[in-house]
Amino acid sequence: MKAMTGPVRPLHGIPYGAKDNFFTKGLRTCANSRALMDHVPDYDAAIVEKLDEAGAILLGKLNTWEYGTGQGLVYHDAAYEHARNPWKDDYCTGGSSTGSGASVAAGTAMFALGADTGGSIRSPAAGCGLQGLKPTYGLISRHGILPNCWSLDTPGPMTWSIEDNANVLQAIAGYDARDAATVALPVPDYTRGLEAGVRGLTIGYVRAIGEAIAVDEAVTEGLEDVVAELKLQGATVVDVSLPLPPSRYRELTTLISGTERATVHEVDFVERGHLMGRELREALMMGAAARAVDYVTAQRRRRELAVSMDALVSRYDAILLPCAYRTATPFSDPALVKDFQGRSATTAFNISGHPALAMRTGFDADGLPIGAQLVGRYFDEAMVLRIARAYERSRDWHSRRPVL
């Protein structure tokens, strides 16, 4: 552990964990892959640098689906077994930031870092009952994070409380010349307005997601609880509809993520593909077979969908909708593990780039966490956190912890 000297810093002495696709100098970063077992970076990820400057203490690296990607397929063939859900240890956490979700819920880290290409922060946050923020694309540097998909990857904080989330975001946000996607905007004070409440705000509520698949009753009850509380506190909540059902956004990522992933890891696949687990190997096979025409078409379609989504989001202070449509599922039924990951409304906001928070809304009858998703205008994470904090402080969900 590093010695702490000098003035007290914003995260002085706060212990945290990082998903094991964040590079750590001198510390193996294998992203749960036998293909990377000897990978010891000689530099820290930009986020790790920033947290070090802020005084945080890296306790260790956290489990992930192989290479920080996947769809929740359970083959038990990666370097390490799946992380377990602290609320029920034979249940999945959601992924791909699996260990980040588990560690914060279990209290073994005060906060954790995750990275989100299609829901990899928000799914484990929903599964484990955290506050997990996928910030605006371009707010935080990805330098030194094993890439999965350059045009979608977004790192962010996974925390127990909204205040923690704001404090960590404060430390890690900002332009970095080493990541061409980061935007040179001033970083606002994410904590200053945190307790300002919601009186006078207008929040759009996606009551019907427009899918044939249903949102579980407990998740819906949690959403309705948020709506009722925000209204009670003086917000106006109006029903809105997404431009398209969430699954239509997900379809694009097959091409975008698949092709970029295969590009990123082409050499690894050719040289060490035999060491990879089945899910990653087959994802790379598929991405390698994509047509260039279809990839570029997907990126053109993405622009259209981002514009139409922004036309909705920009009209409100935030949009409330489901995150995961159900609670975490048992490993004993791999189809259900995939179902937990697949039944969600997360990917739409990777496609659009808007900030999206998986927020805790309570627990179902079996004691598993339920959650909602709060989406804000571009680079207005402060508003998302402010609204989520208004709900958080009205309930005592944060006082409940898993029995380990």
Partner: protein, 63 residues
Amino acid sequence: MSDPTFTEAEATAFATRYGLNLPADQMATLAGKMAEIAKAGLAIPRPSTKFVMPAPVFRVNNG
């Protein structure tokens, strides 16, 4: 339009062309994945005008 399909021979030719060092028993899987992503690509609605540019992947630094 019917769904695209690929034979194991086509998968083998693809793997050889691009240097994918896959064992023979995975060629059927590769053929299936080739079909899956081809189908996904064909399913994307084409923009109505040629002036829809791809979403930006990178930006040019001012400095």
